[in-house]
Structures are given as structure tokens and as C-alpha cells.
């Protein structure tokens, strides 16, 4: 089975359209509501199993010449490990009013961090994501830097680093532990914490 045939099945079952801008490979444009099922089909149901999620990229079409349609897009690239050489891309168009896209982090483990990055840089919200917070920019950052209307040189100061303890407690709870009592050092006084560690 070739990737073209897989695309034909995607078209039939999930209403995928061929992306004309990709002249070198197969890219299917899918609506957000069919995304999870389509990805599950690619992973398990098809003849060529696409076991690896290679990349999730966010795209902002604000200053693209002659672009009609939603402002953002999220592009998923998949590759097959058992039948090497087969790759396929899925694209989901996201409008500015409705920034929600279902998550695929239950199917692929690395989608967790990839989706966090797209959220960080573009502001696309992934529904069902276990831990959607910033990945690359610091915790006090305001805005989404890779959007086209964010000026490249606008810098943002950080007063103190991310605490991370709440996330650690969440992870413990995922593993089956129950946090009963926090240590005393954790309860810092707010003033010292807010002032930050850069005491100029």
C-alpha cells in the first residue's frame, strides 16, 4: 500500500483534502473534530502503520500573501518505522476565535512536549492535554512570541524562575502517590518570592 492510497482512505473516512502547497509529499488537511480519529487510524488501523510522530509545527498565516482562511495551522508529520520511507503530514487549520484543537498526547508520548511548544509560541490550546504550560519561554512571559504581530526585539524580564513544585506534586499523583503534607520551606513569604532573586 502506498501513502497515496492511505490518503484516499483518509479522504473517504475523515474528509481530508489534499494540501496543494505541499508539492513534494502528501499532506492532508483535516478538520479539528476528525483529528484524533484520523491519527488513531494512521497509527493502528492502516496497512502502513505510522508509529512515530516526527514533529508538530505551528504556523501563523497573518502576513502570508494571498491567504484566505483561518489564521493559524498546526502541522503534524508522521513517519513509519516498520516500513521506512513512508511519511505523511496532516494539517489542521485553526482560527483565531476558536483556538481549540484536540490533543494526541494519549496516542504518542512526545506529542506532550510538542503541543506545549505550539501553545507557548502561538497560543493554540490543546483540549485534553494533561499539562499545558509554557515550554521554552519563561514563566512570566506575556504573549506568544512566534506570532507575526509580536515584535522580535520586545524583551521581557524575569524576576524569579518557575517554582516547579506544584508540577512535581502532580507527577507524584500521576504515579499513584498522594501528597499529604508539604515541607515547611515551601511556604515562603510572598514578598521575598515576588521580589525575585535579581536584587539589583
Amino acid at each position: 500500500m502506498t501513502v497515496e492510497e492511505i490518503f484516499a482512505i483518509l479522504d473517504e473516512k475523515f474528509g481530508a483534502k489534499r494540501e496543494t502547497l505541499d508539492k513534494w509529499g502528501v499532506t492532508a488537511v483535516i478538520s479539528a473534530s476528525y483529528l484524533h480519529n484520523a491519527v488513531q487510524f494512521l497509527k493502528e488501523g492502516s496497512d502502513i502503520k505510522f508509529e512515530m510522530l516526527v514533529d508538530i509545527a505551528g504556523i501563523d498565516y497573518l502576513t502570508y500573501p494571498n491567504h484566505e482562511g483561518p489564521r493559524f495551522a498546526v502541522s503534524y508529520a508522521f513517519k513509519s518505522v516498520s516500513k521506512p520511507g513512508n511519511r505523511i503530514r496532516l494539517k489542521v487549520l485553526v482560527s483565531e476565535e476558536d483556538l481549540n484543537v484536540p490533543t494526541i498526547s494519549d496516542l504518542y508520548a512526545n506529542a506532550n512536549w510538542y503541543e506545549r511548544e505550539v501553545f507557548d509560541q502561538f497560543g493554540v490550546i490543546f483540549e485534553g492535554h494533561p499539562d499545558l504550560r509554557r515550554l521554552l519561554n519563561h514563566v512570566e512571559f506575556v504573549g506568544h512570541p512566534l506570532r507575526k504581530d509580536y515584535p522580535a526585539q520586545k524583551r521581557q524580564w524575569l524576576s524569579t524562575n518557575d517554582y516547579l513544585l506544584p508540577q512535581l506534586e502532580k507527577r507524584l499523583e500521576e504515579l499513584g502517590y498522594k501528597v499529604v503534607q508539604r515541607s515547611k520551606e515551601v511556604e515562603t513569604n510572598d514578598n521575598e518570592f515576588l521580589e525575585g532573586s535579581i536584587k539589583a
Binding site: 494540501e19 502547497l21 505541499d22 508539492k23 513534494w24 509529499g25 499532506t27 508509529e51 512515530m52 510522530l53 516526527v54 514533529d55 509545527a57 505551528g58 504556523i59 501563523d60 502570508y64 500573501p65 502541522s75 508529520a77 513517519k79 518505522v81 521506512p84 520511507g85 511519511r87 503530514r89 504518542y108 508520548a109 512526545n110 506532550n112 512536549w113 510538542y114 509560541q121 509554557r134 515550554l135 521554552l136 519561554n137 519563561h138 512570541p145 512566534l146 522580535a152 518557575d162 516547579l164 513544585l165 508540577q167 512535581l168 506534586e169 507527577r171 507524584l172 504515579l175 499513584g176 502517590y177 498522594k178 501528597v179 499529604v180 503534607q181 508539604r182 515541607s183 515551601v186
Partner: protein, 397 residues
Amino acid sequence: MIVLDPNGEKLNLMPLNVGPSHPATHGCLRFLTAMDGETIVASVEEIGYLHRGFEKMVERGTWQQVIPYTDRLNYCSAIMNNIAFCRAVENMFGVEIPERSKVLRVIVNELSRINDHFVCVAAAFQDLGGTTPFMYAFNPREEIMCIWEKLTGARLTNSFARIGGLYRDSYAGFEQDVLDALNSTEKALKDLHACLDRNRIFLDRTVGIGKISAEKAISYGWTGPCLRASGVASDLRKDEPYYDYETYDWEVVVGTQGDCNDRLQVRLAEIEESVKIVRQALKRLAPGPVDIVDPRIRVPSHKLAYQDMEGLIGRFKSVYEGIRVPEGEYYCGSECANGELGFTIISDGSGHPYRIKVRPPCLTQFAAFHELVEGGLLADSMAVLSGLNIIAGELDR
């Protein structure tokens, strides 16, 4: 903090921050662990300490101006990133580079891979406490960096590849220098194997530590030596060959256990395979052009620009406006030292890149870090971290 473990017993855990300023974390990774004595019960990672805004910076300039930025992605093997990017753009144009250029790119690729693997193994051993292999491994690196200096002008971040060819042809004496560097590499490999193979401390600290199964590794999107150490024979140079890699006589190195020891030994074995490839490639090096003769892609040389009107116009447009990459969206991955370095390139047909997304190989490896580390000792986490070869320039871009 006091927690109840799944069996209902009370445990007193200590949160310990292994922060960014730490020798094993190369200054850029942070993880907060909950410790029960010396055992790590849970850990949470944080990255982004070297996020420099590669993807925002490349949107400002032309396509050729992206190349120095790609240098600094995986700075241990800088030329491989250049070649990966140039390959992606050349595929978008649909052009083939000349034969000599292909062979030179293969030689330079494999020498960079040797460089990167040496740094990884040397730093890994130093993080475990031994400084001698560090010294041994950096000797062939010095020789290769001298070759880079003569060939490209810079020791570390040399922007050697260009879209449509290379910066310049090799110099007289290049082949002899490369052969000498290969001999030095083999000597250093022998020394490293003597230090590592039967070293009680090294084996105790790395065998059986940080095991990951092949299915989990694939689910996390691992590629490169770390995936091959788990037993999956996946190598882009054999699966989707480019630059005639399938015509050289070499093998994909595959590990068995998927533990830390395997990851480091796979890298050492890959150095041997790279040496084989370079020796074969040197024999294939035949005189010929190194750049494509197409002023829309590769800027005409100074000679042409100053003597010929079309050359002058071509040079002006290429430098001022940038080459015009055909409009479209394309993903292209190449086998770099850490795994599959991919570029999702979105071009709007003008001379400036619209969007370039880098797929870093080590992001996926670090995303699985908490799985590798939980349940082990704190000292084991250092061994695991160094075996994964996390290069922050690539991880955070």
C-alpha cells in the same frame, strides 16, 4: 514532604533541584526530583534556558542568512546542520548538486559526526568522574578542527554548506590531512575502548541503567543512536538514502539492551563506521565543479560578477533580495549525529523565509527523561543524562 505511596504507607520525600548550573546538565537543563533517600521517586524537567529565538530570527533575513543560525543548533557538529538545511531547500528547488559536492558533503558530514560522538562520550565519562578519556577524545577533535579551519575559516561554527553547493572547494593537501585525522581517530578510539570496555566502575554505573524498550522509544519519537541502542535498526542514511550513502560499504550499528552503556558503545562503533565511509569517499573524490551553475540558486562568483552583466545582476539580486525558494510547505529530515534533524519549511515564494520549524532530535530524548530516571538513584540520573547527548542549542533553539 510527606506522601502516601500506592500501598498506603507514609513516606518522607525530599524535593531536590538539579538545577541548570550543574556540570552534567551542561548549564541548560533543570529537573526537580522527589527523593526517597537516594532513590528518585518522581522527576519533572524544565528546558528553555537557551531559547534564543532561532525561528523568529530567521524570518528577518534572507534564505542564505539562515545558515549561520543553523550552525549554532547542534554546535558540536555544526556543518551537519548546515547540510541538513541546504538539502531541504535544494529538494524544494528540485535540483541535484554536482558529484564532487556530494562526496565532499559526505566526508564533511561524517567527520562532524565523529566530532560529535567524541564530545558525547568524553563528556559522559567526565560526568561519571573520569577525566582521562576526555583528554584522549579531544586529540582527534583538534586535528579535525584544524582541517575545518583550513577548509572553512572557523574552528567550531563554520557555515560551510551553501544552498546549491559549498562555500568553496577543498584546499590542496585536504586528502592527506583527512587521512592523518582518521589515523588519529582510530588511535583515540583504541584508547577509549581500553578505558571503557572492561572498566569495572564504568560498567557498574552504566549497564542496566536507564533502560528503555523499543516500543516506548518509538512512541517518544526517539531517533538516532539512542533509538538504535534499543534495538531498532532505523537510520535515515539507509532508509531514505541521500548523497549516495547506499553505495558505500558500511553497516548500521544496533544495540541490544537499550541501556546507558549501549548508547555510549553505539556511538563509539558509529565512529568506526564513519571512518570507513570517509576512507571510501576520499577514493571517490574526483575533480569537478562544487556549485550548481544557476544564478537563481547559487550566487555567481566574484569573477563572474565583475566581468559579466548577468553575473552582476544575479549577485545583486541574490544578496539583496535573497534566492526565491518556490512557494510551498515541505518537511525534510536528515540523519545528524543525534538523530533526525528535520526542517519544516514554509515558503511564500519571496526571498525571505516565512516559517522554518526545526525538529530537534534531542527534544524527544529529553522528554522521556523522567521515565528513564524514576526508580533509580540520583547518581544514575547523571549517567543517563550524559548518555542521551542533550545539546541545549538544539533542544531550545
